[in-house]
């Protein structure tokens, strides 16, 4: 009996040992596969991101929504009217045009995340990347951080070595400005000049960094203003020294010998049409389009076509955004930037470049025919447009980036480079800096500079020196839909003024966007901007 008991007990123990002992085999570590890998915990030349991923991150600045929408819909250049059951979109476009956004606006959070993820990737490269990539990474970080500072008035910062639970510190607008300047000076010192090769503008160059530095200095008065009173700056705040530096930086860009202004309206459209990366002489910094040999995704310039064109046009769009009547009327009739026919384009698609107004046409079987709207009536774009109640054909549309059209397959593609920085903008900055008290050493005046652009566009040259208002108007005509209108209006103190469909002046604090609510609740170091 006793013997039996011992045998039994041994049996139980053995059974348990088999059950539990042999079985506890896994450490439960996660294994990843394929294109994914676990990020190394240490930095030092071992960064996870690569430079291509930072270039790719600038795609967040391209497209009809988010960043671009806040830069353009908030101004007189663009609005998104509700058309019956179309385009109400929960008021998202309307709220931007009316300056009626708040921290809950649905495009704010995506904008914030899109720009900031690029900022983090750039920081990984600057602080933990290969030394050879550093100057380019510094330019890219400055470029991306500028957008955060400009839109949101504060810049959060996460170091490459920070652990996952670190709450990012936040730089004020003034602190961020100085920080960005530091990156830019290092980038200018370390970057090569534009090589002049096709596609060279798609990469960081000395000239791109110089351009950005000039833009920042020109806007320094805005960025250094009191956050509680962000529009309280005057002419005195634009220091002569800064303005002279702007002029010198643009001179440096000119002296690279890579950039020039053309002589006819067609050369203006060379900056935007499908082969702009080959034909333009003005591209300083761009993102390559379809077919560009660059890492990461490509710019999608069809957004800038489709956002306005009607469903039934040759580039079938989504019949959305229009410009305001006042903005359209700010152009001279003969201005090639307003409307130009383009060879290899207009005779195939029925479109002109520039603004689309009046009866629209397309080609069917080689014949030019009227485009009809969805109820069968001729499609005639008219300047009058209501933000709340518009019908299908209301509003002047834009054709800033003429796409490539294949008349055989009846299809289109979008090889256009998307333009971030352009030489004409550099010259306009120079003209403005002279007017704001900077010293030019080459005898250029604001008038001679503006006239280069006016003559190229087929507009009567100025005969007297322009004032600041004239500079702003010329910037509008030259740079519309290039993502600078909001900044320009703020710098010239006009951002809060009424426009066609916004009848009252908006509050001064609206020159800075609110921090999205989700971001405020995720980071206790972020304080909601003044006024919101």
């Amino acid at each position: 009996m006793k013997n039996n008991f011992i045998k039994q007990t041994a049996l139980y123990v053995a059974a348990i040992a088999v059950t539990i002992g042999t079985a506890s085999c896994s450490k439960l570590d996660e294994k990843v596969f394929g294109s994914k890998s676990i990020v190394a915990e240490t930095g030092g030349g071992n960064s996870s991101a690569n430079l291509e991923s930072v270039y790719e991150a600038t795609n967040a600045l391209i497209g009809q929504g988010n960043f671009f929408a806040f830069q353009e819909h908030s101004t007189d250049e663009l609005l998104g009217p509700t058309r019956g059951t179309d385009w109400d979109d929960f008021g998202t476009w309307r709220k931007i045009h009316l300056h009626a956004w708040d921290g809950a606006h649905n495009q704010l959070y995506d904008t914030w995340n899109g720009i900031n993820s690029g900022l983090f990737k750039a920081t990984l490269l600057v602080e933990a990347g290969a030394p050879g990539d550093k100057p380019a990474a510094q330019f890219l970080r400055a470029f991306i951080a500028t957008q955060v500072m400009d839109l949101f008035g504060q810049v959060p910062y996460r170091a490459a070595a920070d652990g996952p639970d670190v709450i990012p510190a936040v730089k004020t607008r003034a602190e961020a400005f100085d920080w960005i300047m530091g990156d830019l000076d290092a980038a200018i010192a370390g970057l090569p000049s534009n090589s002049g090769n096709i596609g060279a503008s798609r990469y960081a160059t000395k000239e791109a960094a110089q351009f950005l530095k000039a833009r920042l200095l020109l806007n320094k008065a805005v960025y250094k203003a009191d956050p509680q009173n962000p529009t309280a700056f005057g002419e005195a705040d634009f220091s002569a020294a800064d303005m002279s530096t702007v002029i010198e930086l643009v001179d440096d860009i000119t002296n690279s010998g890579r950039f020039s202004i053309g002589t006819d309206p067609a050369s203006y459209w060379n900056n935007f049409k499908w082969d702009n990366f080959e034909t333009s002489t003005e591209l300083i910094y761009t993102r390559g389009g379809e077919g560009a040999t660059q890492a990461g995704g490509n710019a999608g310039t069809n957004w800038y076509t489709g956002m306005g064109t009607h469903y039934n046009q040759t580039f079938s769009g989504w019949n959305g955004f229009t410009t305001t009547a006042d903005f359209y009327n700010s152009f001279h009739e003969e201005d090639g930037r307003r409307q130009s026919d383009i060879n290899g384009f207009t005779e195939l698609t029925g479109f002109n470049a520039g603004f689309l107004a009046g009866q629209q046409y397309k080609y069917v079987g080689g014949n030019r025919v009227q485009v009809k709207d969805r109820s069968g009536s001729p499609l005639i774009f008219t300047p009058d447009v209501s933000l709340f109640y518009s019908t299908e054909a209301k509003g002047i549309r834009t054709m800033k980036y003429p796409l490539k059209y294949d008349p055989v397959t009846l299809s289109n593609s979008q090889p256009n480079d998307f333009v971030f920085f352009r030489y004409a903008d550099a010259l306009l900055m120079q003209a403005e800096a002279i007017l704001r008290g900077g010293t030019d050493h080459h005898g250029e005046t604001p008038m001679t500079i503006l006239n280069q652009l006016r003559v190229r566009s087929g507009v009567e040259p100025l005969t007297a020196e322009p004032d600041l208002a004239e500079i702003l108007a010329e910037r509008g005509r030259e740079l519309y839909l290039e993502g600078v209108r909001r900044d320009d209006l703020i710098r010239f103190g006009k951002f809060n003024d009424p426009v066609n469909e916004r009848s009252t002046k908006s509050e001064a604090f609206k020159v800075v966007l609110p921090i999205p609510n989700q971001a405020v609740s995720s980071n206790p170091n972020l304080k909601q901007n003044f006024g919101y």
Partner: protein
């Protein structure tokens, strides 16, 4: 969690249990079990030592032999449908059992074992074949829809094989899905296995993970509703557990054959304007808006096409099932094969399924037993382009509703008519897409049990689940430009002008392989003591590894392609294909668990269990979680004092108390790690932020219940109360920028509370006076549920995307403190003003409305029998919830007419102004309350001569979804189109879903 501690805890626990163990002499008892009424043998009756659960089963001739310790005095003989009997455990016995309607002795599967209903301490409900829903059953959950209190089954739409939501005792998770864990023949299903959409019309809806199972092969479905039972599945038990047991062989060799033929039609259709009403509506609308109507006539192409007729069909489905099996004292075998061909009511929608099942057991030696089960299935799905988030052009149903009824189906060139107005011809959507998948699944497990002693059994289970799915989608090049949009950009790489490529036709090829292997070691101890008390104990280890591998590729046809090619291999040259892209994941789960049941005098039953689960999804140091549970049952009528009081009314009265914790780890693998990914163009992107602190979501539940029997067994009832509180809610929140990704998984503070009452009653209203006399049974169940989010602070999560033209960015649902999950939020619509513009309350401010979660569910089944006929009628009612009619919001607006989109008759005639925007508002939010005549069936048992080769023949006529009573203006309020935002689930949205069918089925069931 330290392994050594875990191990030693278990060893200690188990040794403690075994401390009292002495081996005694054995004896063998033989006997025969017969039906008391006609002395026919009862096969598969259970013969067990009193107080224990282990024992033997009778053979086909009712005989049994059992070897037991000589100390055992009594055996308990039981069988489903009979009252059990105790007999002396000596020599040879003949036992006659009386038929009964009481279910107390039914055996329920409880996970890692079975228990009798009377011994179960938890809230476990078991449903067997006779209570299943009848008719055309596409997948197992349809068998039990509406039949069980506290179990809410909502099919998302009427699509064959489409996704289903099963919520057991309410929704407790904010973020991850609320579907239960499925366990088939003891092996936890990994699930998943089907691939999403491969087209550009929007994403298709998810599939049902159970659609591979042959419903005919199911013997029993058990549902573990409360934590005291579900905690045995630890980290996966929080949403309840559904245990599916397939059929096993019983008795003499017999062959069964079932065949059904079903005819289905859409149960409801949209009440659309006729061509005349449509043209009248356009003219009036434009004239009212002051728009010139001279060109309006161009919209009238003079045809009269009912697009619903073009899309819907009367579908015919067939199902065949052949089974063969036997059992004897030594072995049992069941083979089962089936073929189903289900047509959807939308042309091209359908499902073909072939299954094979094998279940075999063999008592190899007196101590060693082998069990093998195999379920293999091949499902061919055919899809129509019904999607959940289509924009203004609509997917198939949207196009069907809004396409101009004066347009012809085909143009003069013989191609699909296309007015070049950007709208999509529904027939082109049907015929121009070929979208099919093949889904193969093998579920197999093999187990060996070895009786170490008479009381102690060791069991090894090895199970595999292999699924593979291939989905090919082909698009006809003749579809106009309106059908091809977007850009092929795969992981950073562009593939050229898409409209150029797609004008030659396009294809998408997707593959998904899923493998799961589970190995389990269990030790079962089962002992009845001399004083009649009994102890059952379980100690186990389980390890499961699952791998997922998804690959996809897209392609376009060669230049000049003019017809749709449907062979991926042959027709799409390698040079016209994109790179292969995809993703792989691996998840491991390792668990230790133990359960102890102790029964004192058949009166007090205690149950305690704990499971320690480790998952690879969590970071080091955080991998293990512990899930304990306790249950207690008091069988009141075993008390002498109660017999004199309660016993006068009740013939059975049990009180149950339970408490337990269960977990939920339903979030994507790798969420605790920082990951980077390389694009096809060489950029390396950090894609996730690490979160080392992530842990399970834990649900703590307490409950109490009463089981009672009245009127001499004619009334059986159960009342349950429960309270569930879910904490450490898994959620994806904003990650402080700048960072690699926008968000990361965390455990939110706050809880989701579910409290509820469940009642179920079975009443033999008319007890047949004799065999064949009229009988009437009524089964009724109902449940009340209250859901609330607590401690959420100021966190507000919006979900419920509203789709349609002009509705980008719109949402209609919110999760916030103090309200139930899935509460609707939107401005309150009051009326149209004199100009036909909408007037909203309080300046059109967003206001909180009702929730999409029902507060009341009920099911009522009446079963009648008379002679050879039996009939049953089943009604299902769901109340206290709201449905957002996104279909109406997107399409049924006056403004639709202005752009020549068709609408319902009601819209043609209402006073809305055509420039009134269709903003989200309570105008489209409706009460969903409904009562459905869900199932009715009539069956007839044909007389068969004794001794003829055919042993039984049954004919059945059944109808499903025969009538719907509701005030909801959409087609059917039982709808749940996925409108999640950033993965936060939504509930109660109706957006151009596949309508539900009304089905009549004729079935024949023969036994040989």
């Amino acid at each position: 969690m330290n392994f050594k501690i875990v191990k030693s805890t278990f060893v200690g626990l188990f040794l403690g249990l075994l401390a009292v163990n002495a081996q005694a002499q054995n004896k063998t008892v033989t006997g025969k079990v017969l039906d008391a009424k006609d002395n026919t043998p009862i096969a598969a009756a259970s013969v067990v030592v009193k107080g224990a659960s282990a024992g033997t089963k009778t053979a086909a001739d009712g005989s049994f032999a059992i070897t037991i310790p000589s100390s055992v005095a009594k055996l308990v003989i039981s069988s489903v449908g009979y009252s059990s009997k105790e007999v002396g455990a000596e020599g040879s016995v003949i036992v006659s059992l009386n038929q009964t309607s009481s279910q107390l002795n039914d055996v329920v599967v409880v996970g890692y074992g079975t228990r009798k209903v009377k011994d179960a301490t938890g809230a476990v409900v078991s449903l067997s074949e006779k209570s299943f829903n009848k008719g055309m059953i596409a997948s197992p959950e349809q068998l039990l829809q509406g039949r069980i209190a506290g179990v809410n089954v909502t099919s998302n739409s009427g699509e064959p094989g489409g996704a289903v939501n099963i919520t057991i005792r309410g929704s407790s998770s904010v973020r991850s899905n609320n579907n239960p864990l499925y366990v088939v023949d003891g092996v936890p299903l990994y699930g998943g296995g089907t691939i999403g959409s491969g087209n550009d019309l929007g994403s298709t809806t998810a599939r049902n993970p159970l659609s591979f199972i042959n419903p005919n092969d199911i013997e029993n479905i058990s549902i573990l509703k409360d934590a005291s039972s579900a905690a045995i599945y630890g980290a996966r038990g929080a949403n309840g557990v559904v245990l599916i047991t397939t059929k096993s062989g019983k008795g003499k060799p017999s062959l069964t054959f079932n065949a059904t033929t079903s005819i289905s039609n859409p149960a409801q259709r949209y009440d659309l304007a006729s061509p005349q009403e449509f043209m009248y509506g356009i003219k009036k609308t434009l004239a009212d808006a002051g728009i010139d109507v001279t060109n309006v006539g161009s919209n009238d192409k003079g045809y009269s096409t009912d697009w619903q007729d073009q899309v819907f069909r009367t579908s015919i489905s067939n199902s065949y099932n052949l089974g063969w099996g036997y059992s004897n004292a030594k072995s049992a075998l069941k083979l089962n094969g089936s073929f189903d061909d289900q047509q959807g009511i939308i042309k091209t929608q359908g499902l073909k399924r072939m299954t094979f099942g094998l279940k075999y057991s063999n008592q190899l030696t007196s101590r060693l037993k082998l069990d093998v089960t195999l379920n293999s299935s091949t499902v061919n799905n055919s899809y129509a382009q019904v999607t959940n988030n289509a924009g203004y052009q609509g997917s198939l149903i949207g196009a069907m509703i809004s396409y101009n009824p004066t347009f012809p189906v085909y143009g003069t060139n013989g191609k699909w008519y296309d007015n070049q107005d950007g709208n999509r011809n529904p027939v082109a959507i049907i015929e121009g897409y070929n979208d099919k998948d093949v889904y193969k699944k093998i579920l197999a497990n093999i187990s060996l049990s070895y009786k170490l002693t008479n009381d102690l059994t060791y069991k090894l289970i090895y199970g595999v689940e292999n699924g593979s799915s291939t989905r090919n989608t082909f698009v006809d090049p003749n579809l106009g430009s309106a059908y091809s949009q977007g850009n092929i950009n795969i992981r950073g790489k562009d593939y050229g002008g898409v409209s150029t490529l797609f004008s030659h036709g396009r294809a998408a090829h997707q593959l998904l392989d899923q493998n799961s292997a589970v190995i389990e070691h269990t030790l079962n101890y089962d002992k009845t003591f001399k004083n009649g008390n009994s102890l059952q104990a379980l100690a186990a280890f389980s390890y499961q590894k699952t791998n997922d591998n998804y690959r996809a590729q897209q392609a376009w046809g060669p230049i000049g392609t003019t017809k749709m090619y449907t062979s991926w291999e042959k027709d799409y040259p390698v040079g016209n294909r994109t790179d292969v892209y995809g993703d792989s994941t691996q998840v491991e789960l390792q668990s230790y668990f133990s359960r102890v049941n102790y029964t004192i005098k058949d009166k007090y039953i205690f149950s305690a269990l704990a499971r320690i689960d480790g998952s690879s999804k969590f970071s080091k140091g955080n991998k293990y979680g512990t899930f304990p549970a306790f249950g207690f049952k008091w069988r009141a009528l075993e008390e002498r004092f109660a017999q004199k009081t309660l016993g006068k009314i009740f013939s059975n009265f049990d009180v149950r108390l339970n408490y337990g914790m269960t977990g939920n780890q339903e979030f994507p693998a790798y969420s605790s790690l920082a990951l980077q990914q390389e694009s096809f163009t060489g950029s390396i992107n950090v894609i996730t932020n690490s979160n080392p602190n992530l842990k399970w979501e834990t649900t703590t539940s307490t409950g109490a219940g009463i089981d009672f029997t009245l009127f001499n067994g004619r009334l059986n009832g159960t009342v349950d109360y429960f309270n569930k509180s879910t904490k450490d809610l898994l959620f994806l929140i904003s990650y402080p920028q700048p960072a690699a990704s926008a968000d990361r998984w965390v455990n939110l503070p706050g809880t989701v509370e579910n409290t509820g009452w469940e009642f179920s009653l079975d009443y033999q209203l008319v007890r047949p006076a004799y065999r064949g006399a009229f009988g009437w049974d009524v089964a009724y169940n109902m449940s009340f549920l209250k859901n609330n989010v607590k401690g959420f602070g100021s966190t507000v999560v919006n979900t419920g995307e509203v789709s349609g033209q002009g509705l980008s960015g719109a949402y209609a649902q919110t999760i916030r403190d103090g309200y139930p999950l899935f509460t609707f939020i939107m401005p309150t619509f009051l009326r149209f003003d004199a100009y036909g513009n909408a007037v909203y309350a309080n300046g059109a401010k967003d206001e909180l409305q009702g929730s999409a979660l029902p507060t009341f569910n009920a099911g009522l089944t009446n079963t009648f029998s008379y002679k050879k006929l039996s009939a049953s009628v089943f009604f299902n009612a769901v109340n206290g919830f709201y449905v957002y009619n996104n279909t109406a919001n997107a399409l049924f607006l006056k403004g639709s007419l202005k752009t020549a989109h068709n609408v319902t008759k009601e819209i043609v005639n209402n006073i809305e102004n055509s420039i009134n925007p269709g903003s989200v508002s309570s105008r489209f939010l409706e009460k969903g309350d409904y009562i459905r005549l869900a199932n009715a069936s009539l069956s007839y048992a044909v007389d068969v001569k004794k001794g003829s080769f055919i042993k039984g023949l049954n004919l059945t006529l059944s109808g499903q979804n025969l009538a719907l009573f509701t005030n909801y203006t959409g087609l059917d309020p039982e709808v749940n189109v996925d409108k999640s935002i950033n993965g936060v689930p939504s509930r109660g949205f109706d957006y151009t879903a596949t309508p539900r069918a009304k089905t009549i089925t004729f079935g024949i069931n023969a036994r040989f």
